[in-house]
């Protein structure tokens, strides 16, 4: 994987922000479109070993769903699970498209997560 130090730094910075600002966050993972992890931060109990690959598949399937329904590009995929949420957003940086995955507990407020995640993604896109 050939990522510039600049992009890596921007990714780390995005993770810092999200881990700090989102209440109930358990993990933030930033990965390539084809499922390789670029940077990650994880709270104790969270497991993100394969999240990068899974996020890439889901993002790709989300893209197909968006196209088939003629709704345009897929921006994010949200999963609501018994004990929390996973939000996966596309960060379309000129160098490469990244996927930002945010895993939260049930106590997180979805609106807040979406807001901060989108902000961080926008910044990352412009890095």
């Amino acid at each position: 994987m050939n990522t510039t130090p600049r992009l890596r730094l921007a990714a780390e910075s995005a993770i810092d922000t999200l881990m700090r600002e989102i209440k109930g966050v358990k993990a933030v993972v930033i990965s390539t479109e084809d499922g390789l992890e670029l940077a990650a931060r994880v709270e104790n109990t969270a497991q993100v070993a394969r999240l990068s690959a899974i996020a890439s598949s889901l993002a790709a399937l989300g893209a197909v769903a968006g196209e088939e329904s003629q709704l345009g590009q897929c921006d994010n995929v949200a999963i609501e699970a018994t004990h929390g949420h996973i939000l996966m957003l596309q960060a379309r940086h000129p160098e490469m498209t990244l996927i930002v995955s945010v895993v939260t507990s049930r106590e997180a407020i979805i609106g807040q997560v979406l807001y901060f995640a989108k902000q961080a993604t926008l910044l990352l896109q412009q890095a």
Binding site: N2, D34, G35, L36, S56, S57, L61, A63, V64, M96
Partner: protein, 174 residues
């Protein structure tokens, strides 16, 4: 587990899964190709979700053809796609450094499906890369307790892809 009307194509990046499906599918294959960030493989894109093609049977049912992602990190997709499949075609690229090791990955990854249904191993690029030979593949499969057809194939040729499918059918027919 109900048997669905689907056949899987798997194999390493660049082995020809998307091409094989495209060769026989009625519809242009739906693919989830994204940019390949792995600089060790000279291929621009890679499948991260699945490839999808279809054939309509005479009673209106669809036979669905699925291509899986090749890399091991997507083995969760292998499990999902393998459910209820009629069989699997493993495509191997003989120009890669260790094609037998590649084969091992899919024999292991799809072991249960192979044991329950049918499998065909198609080796590509053999004209320019004759080694390992087909007998080496046969022996490797024997080591894993698998006996199934292994032959050279060029999946850009629709007739050869149809032949691979026929070899799957032969194994499934009583």
């Amino acid at each position: 587990m109900t048997v669905e009307h689907k056949i899987l194509f798997t194999g390493t990046m660049g082995a020809g899964k998307t091409t094989a499906i495209g060769a026989v599918s009625e519809i242009p294959p739906v693919s989830t190709d994204v940019r390949n960030s792995d600089t060790s493989v000279a291929k621009a894109t890679t499948t991260v979700g699945l490839d999808y093609g279809e054939l309509t049977l005479d009673n209106g049912d669809k036979l669905r053809l699925y291509g899986t992602p090749g890399q091991m990190r997507f083995d969760f997709m292998w499990r999902i796609l393998a459910r209820g499949a009629l069989g699997v075609v493993i495509l191997v690229d003989n120009s890669r450094p260790d094609p037998l090791a590649d084969l091992d990955i899919y024999l292991d990854g799809f072991a249960e499906l192979i044991a329950q249904t049918a499998c065909v191993v198609a080796v590509g690029r053999m004209e320019k890369h004759p080694n390992p030979g087909l007998d080496a593949y046969a022996k490797r499969m024997e080591d894993k307790g698998v006996v199934c057809p292994v032959l050279a194939a060029n999946v850009t040729d629709a007739r050869q892809v149809v032949q691979l499918l026929e070899l799957l059918l032969l194994q499934l027919e009583a």
